[in-house]
């Protein structure tokens, strides 16, 4: 338990509560004193109302007491008149007894009903009083005048005591308000006092009428009684009523009963009292004191009656004032309750609406932040857009980005942040993509570079070996040079001999060609001749043809000539035969010529071929001769060249050594290059890792496809 109640834990629990719950707790805490104050205020009102109600009960109790007192006074007067022998009083006495009984019964009822507990305690209760009255009622005829008067006075005093009890028990004596207090004072003290004085004075008159002997004492007593009456009956009452009427202010409302009825009753009361006082004064100057006393007593009854009416009127006025006060208090209580509860409800509604105004945007902002934290920027943008739309609708399109409301400011800030985040992430995504591509390219190109470097190293190695070979070759070359010089000299000797033989061959070939030329000429001559013969043959053939034709025509003419043409026909026949023979011979010659021509052609062909071959051979010999001369020349020219070659070979060896050195340096630098390439690749791989890490981080976020134009 103590663990829960530790202040740190409580504060933590309070901080972690929802806002609405916090507000509920706060409003509960606020409501508590308000409720307490309200309770006290209402209970105050209730107390005032109860006090007034209690006083009204007191007034209700007073009425039967007044009626009782009036009844008793009337009864006493009637009894005296009855005992004096006045007629017609018996029924009046019965009526008066009935009035008293009913008044006392009323008193009992009220004291047992609304006025429960007021009349209990020490002293005589209304039930007991009723019992005493019943006893008196039944027994006054049989009592001695002294006892009867004592009993009467006892009953009266009980009632008077009851007045005091009512006044104190019901709280009338402690009436808090001035206007009702004045009326209460009137009804509870002044008027009963004056009525008691009147009653006592009446008793004095009655007593004096019974025993008229001691006139001075009577007179003194009457004078003092008159003075007292004047004081209490008139002055006090007047001033009391005046005070009451003047005090009847508008705090609780002017009582119409008080204002209208009291002065009327007061007027009649004053009249009656004045009359009574006058009659009292007249007694001392009257000649017939007994009658005067009796008349005074009668006036007294009238005064008492008017006093009782005034008393009842004042009680009514008091009751009215009290009911007005009750009404006022009840109204105030109702207004207070309505206002308080209304204000409370309004306050609660306002608190809740404020809480909603705070929590709703906060919830939205929380949702957006959660989406962003989860990486779902797209959802965050959708939330933002929806809320923006709703907000736009509520603001009639006024896109005012400034607001005094801190929550709305926060919402705007979050929206701006979301949009910026969205654009930032999009950019970062694209940038990382580009960087990754670039690193990939760098990596591949560096790998290519590496392979190139490796190849370079390999080729430089090759060059190295090649230079070694070159050096070796140069040395070999130098030794070979010496051998070659020797062999060169021998070759020159051989070549000279060869040149001579070649010359001889050339001569022979030239002769051959010349003879071939001759043969060619002869053959072409034959060809020309045969061509001429062919021409002749053609001519012969033509002639033969013409002859044949001629013979034909001759034959035809011969036939036409008939027998005369027989010899001609023979001639024609012979001509034809001649033509035929000629053509045959011509054909034979042509054949022979053809054969000859073929033979000649073949011969020419053969000779040509032969000449061709000879020509080719001659050309070849020329070439060979030229070559051999060239060889000789070059062999002759070799010797200086050998020197140069020797020198060159030496230079080559030196260069080879230089190349080897350079190659070694190249190899070293290639190694350096390879190392730096490796380093470079390491760097790019690290960069790639970093970018991939960033990308994977960013991949958590899902970005919206299109970007809103603000």
């Amino acid at each position: 338990m103590s663990g829960i109640l530790k202040p740190g834990v409580i504060r933590q629990r309070f901080q972690n509560m929802r806002l609405s719950r916090m507000l509920i707790i706060s409003s509960c805490v606020f409501t508590l004193p308000i409720a307490i104050l309200l309770f006290y205020m209402i209970s105050g009102f209730n107390r005032n109302i109860d006090t007034a109600r209690r006083e009204m009960v007191g007034v209700e109790l007073m009425r039967p007491v007044v009626n009782g007192l009036r009844g008793l006074a009337t009864h006493d007067d009637l009894v005296i008149r009855f005992l004096d022998g006045e007629t017609g009083t018996a029924s009046e006495i019965n009526a008066a007894e009935r009035d008293v009984t009913s008044a006392l019964q009323e008193l009992v009822r009220v004291s047992n009903g609304p006025g429960t507990g007021m009349m209990t305690g020490s002293g005589i209760t209304p039930d007991q009083l009723l019992a005493q009255w019943s006893v008196f009622q039944g027994s006054w005829r049989s009592l001695s005048p002294h006892d009867r008067i004592q009993r009467h006075i006892a009953l009266l005093s009980v009632l008077r005591v009851m007045i005091r009890r009512i006044g104190s028990e019901s709280g009338l004596y402690l009436d808090p308000d001035l206007d009702s207090y004045c009326v209460m004072d009137l009804a509870m003290r002044i008027i009963p006092g004056s009525l008691a004085t009147m009653h006592d004075t009446q008793h004095i008159c009655q007593e004096a009428a019974e025993n008229p002997t001691d006139s001075i004492r009577i007179r003194t007593r009457l004078e003092s009684a008159a003075t007292t009456l004047h004081l209490t009956g008139i002055t006090d009452v007047q001033s009391g009523i005046a005070q009451a009427i003047s005090a009847d202010s508008a705090i609780y409302g002017i009582s119409p009963i008080l204002q209208s009825t009291l002065p009327v009753h007061l007027a009649s009361y004053l009249e009656g009292t004045q009359q009574f006082i006058h009659s009292l004064d007249a007694v001392s100057t009257s000649g017939d004191p007994v009658t005067a006393l009796k008349g005074a007593s009668n006036n007294g009854t009238g005064a008492i009656e008017s006093g009782v009416r005034l008393w009842l009127a004042s009680l009514d006025g008091l009751d009215d004032l009290l009911s007005i006060r009750v009404g006022r208090f009840a109204g105030q209580r109702l207004i207070a309750l309505l206002l308080s509860f209304g204000a409370l409800l309004i306050a609660c509604a306002m608190v809740f609406s404020i809480a909603r105004m705070i929590t709703k945007p906060l919830h939205r902002v929380t949702r957006i932040a959660t989406h962003i934290a989860r990486g779902d920027i797209r959802r965050a943008m959708i939330e933002m857009r929806d809320c923006k739309l709703r907000r736009m609708m509520s603001f009639d399109g006024r896109t005012d980005h400034s607001s005094n409301n801190e929550i709305i400011q926060l919402a705007y800030a979050v929206d701006t942040m979301t949009v910026s985040l969205q654009s930032l992430l999009t950019q970062v995504q694209s940038s990382t993509q580009l960087v990754l591509e670039a690193t990939g390219q760098i990596d591949s190109s560096s790998r290519q570079l590496e392979t190139t470097v490796v190849e370079q190293a390999a080729s430089s190695n090759q060059v190295n070996t090649t230079t070694h070979e070159i050096a070796a070759t140069a040395a070999d070359l130098a030794t070979a040079m010496g051998t070659m010089t020797m062999m060169g000299a021998t070759a020159v000797g051989h070549a000279d001999k060869g040149a001579q033989s070649l010359d001889e061959i050339r001569e022979t070939v030239h002769n051959l060609i010349a003879s071939v030329e001759v043969i060619n000429n002869r053959l072409s001559l034959i060809n020309t001749k045969t061509a001429a013969i062919s021409e002749v043959i053609v001519t012969i053939t033509r002639v033969s043809n013409q002859t044949n034709l001629l013979s034909l025509n001759a034959a035809i003419e011969a036939e036409k000539a008939g027998e005369f043409g027989a010899g001609f026909a023979i001639v024609a026949r012979e001509i034809r035969r001649l033509a035929d023979q000629t053509s045959i011979a011509a054909l034979d010659i042509e054949e022979t010529i053809n054969d000859m021509q073929n033979a000649v052609r073949e011969g020419v062909e053969g000779v040509r071929e032969y000449a061709e071959q000879a020509g080719k051979g001659s050309a070849k010999i020329e070439a060979i001769s030229g070559d051999i001369s060239g060889i000789i020349e070059s062999i002759r020219a070799i010797e200086p060249e050998f020197e140069r070659v020797n020198e060159g070979a030496q230079t080559q060896s030196q260069s080879a050594a230089q190349i080897t050195e350079a190659i070694a340096q190249l190899a070293v630098s290639t190694r350096h290059t390879k190392d730096s390439l490796l380093e470079f690749r390491g760097v790019t791989s690290r960069l790639s890792d970093a970018v991939q890490g960033l990308q994977s981080e960013i991949a958590r976020f899902t970005v919206a496809e299109e970007v809103e134009a603000e």
Binding site: T541, N545, Q546, L549, L552, A555, I556, E559, K560
Partner: protein, 148 residues
């Protein structure tokens, strides 16, 4: 009878010399536009225009080759107005005349509708010679209107 022999289709054909006016060498013939193929052309024979028909085409449906032995046979044609018109026949192998005995002339025993000009078959020293009727040969494939 004496017959002038020419070759066509690898065989010898003969024309009665009595109908022949002359044999001339092959000359350049003037060709006529839109003339039938058998009309080889026109030749100038002693100042007059003579139409020349190609006998080889008429027999063998092949144009005559311009050999030395290819000659033009000028024949006489009888017309209704009793005037002699000459027609030339271009033929190959026109080199000899043969004399046929009457006993060696035998009738053909067959009729060829497309060659109504075939007459008898004569036997000369060198082999059989198909005799030809000049008129029908000339007029067979050539309409009358062509030869005025």
């Amino acid at each position: 009878m004496m017959v002038l022999v020419f070759t066509a289709n690898g065989q010898s054909y003969g024309i009665d010399i009595g109908r022949i006016h002359e044999v001339v060498t092959l000359v350049a013939l003037r060709r006529l536009p839109h003339a039938p193929d058998c009309l080889a052309g026109l030749m100038d024979y002693h100042g007059s225009i003579v139409p020349v028909l190609d006998a080889t085409l008429l027999i063998e449906e092949r144009q005559s080759k311009p050999l030395l032995s290819t000659r033009i046979i000028i024949v006489r044609r009888k017309t209704d107005d009793n005037e002699t018109h000459y027609v030339g026949l271009l033929a190959e192998g026109v080199t000899e005349t043969v004399t046929c005995d009457d006993e060696s002339i035998r009738p053909l025993q067959v009729r060829v509708a497309d060659a109504p000009w075939l007459r008898e078959l004569a036997d000369a020293g060198g082999g059989p010679v198909q005799l030809i009727d000049v008129d029908s040969f000339v007029e067979h494939r050539v309409p009358e209107s062509l030869l005025s």
